[in-house]
Symmetry: C2
Subunit: 99 residues, 2 copies
């Protein structure tokens, strides 16, 4: 079985999780530099954190370059089975940032 360590490798997607907050900010800034776009994706309780990351990135780029990023947000629901086999729904958010 082949596994890729970085989920986002090859794409401009950043998945928000438990890592230190600034890691996500820096990863997003890098994607915007390399690709002129970035997609911040988060599920469940990490949605708030995803919005925080986006707000910090927008503010930094506004301050550094006086550029206002274009933002598109979609939300959704994913279903999965938890450890006890119970069906669980979790909300998702995708925030697309573009120069």
């Amino acid at each position: 079985m082949v596994q890729t360590n970085e989920k986002r490798s090859g794409t401009n997607e950043i998945y928000i999780g438990n890592k230190p907050f600034m890691k996500y900010v820096i990863a997003t800034m890098m994607q915007l530099k390399e690709n002129d776009s970035a997609v911040i994706r988060a599920r469940g309780k990490f949605i708030s954190r995803g919005v925080d990351v986006v707000e910090v990135v927008k503010k930094r780029i506004q301050e550094a370059e006086s550029v206002e990023l274009n933002q598109t947000i979609t939300t959704g629901t994913e279903g999965f089975k938890n450890d006890e086999g119970k069906h669980i729904n979790v909300s998702t958010i995708d925030i697309v940032l573009k120069r």
Copy 2:
């Protein structure tokens, strides 16, 4: 079931906080019934909850009426001073639902 004694009286805004989850779902459904639109507003850690409310409402209306709600999301940052006088930034989300 009638609920009127809420912050949102006079507007179609629902502020997400600590109350039982279904209260927000019902309040949003009522606003959509009365005004054909509703604005779900949340700050900080409640942003995830706001998205959950919106996802449940959209699913319910989809199932009951086969209607897909129109959704517009904006995010922002609010600054305030905390109890120790320190300046704090908090992210905000406004989700507008329309029939």
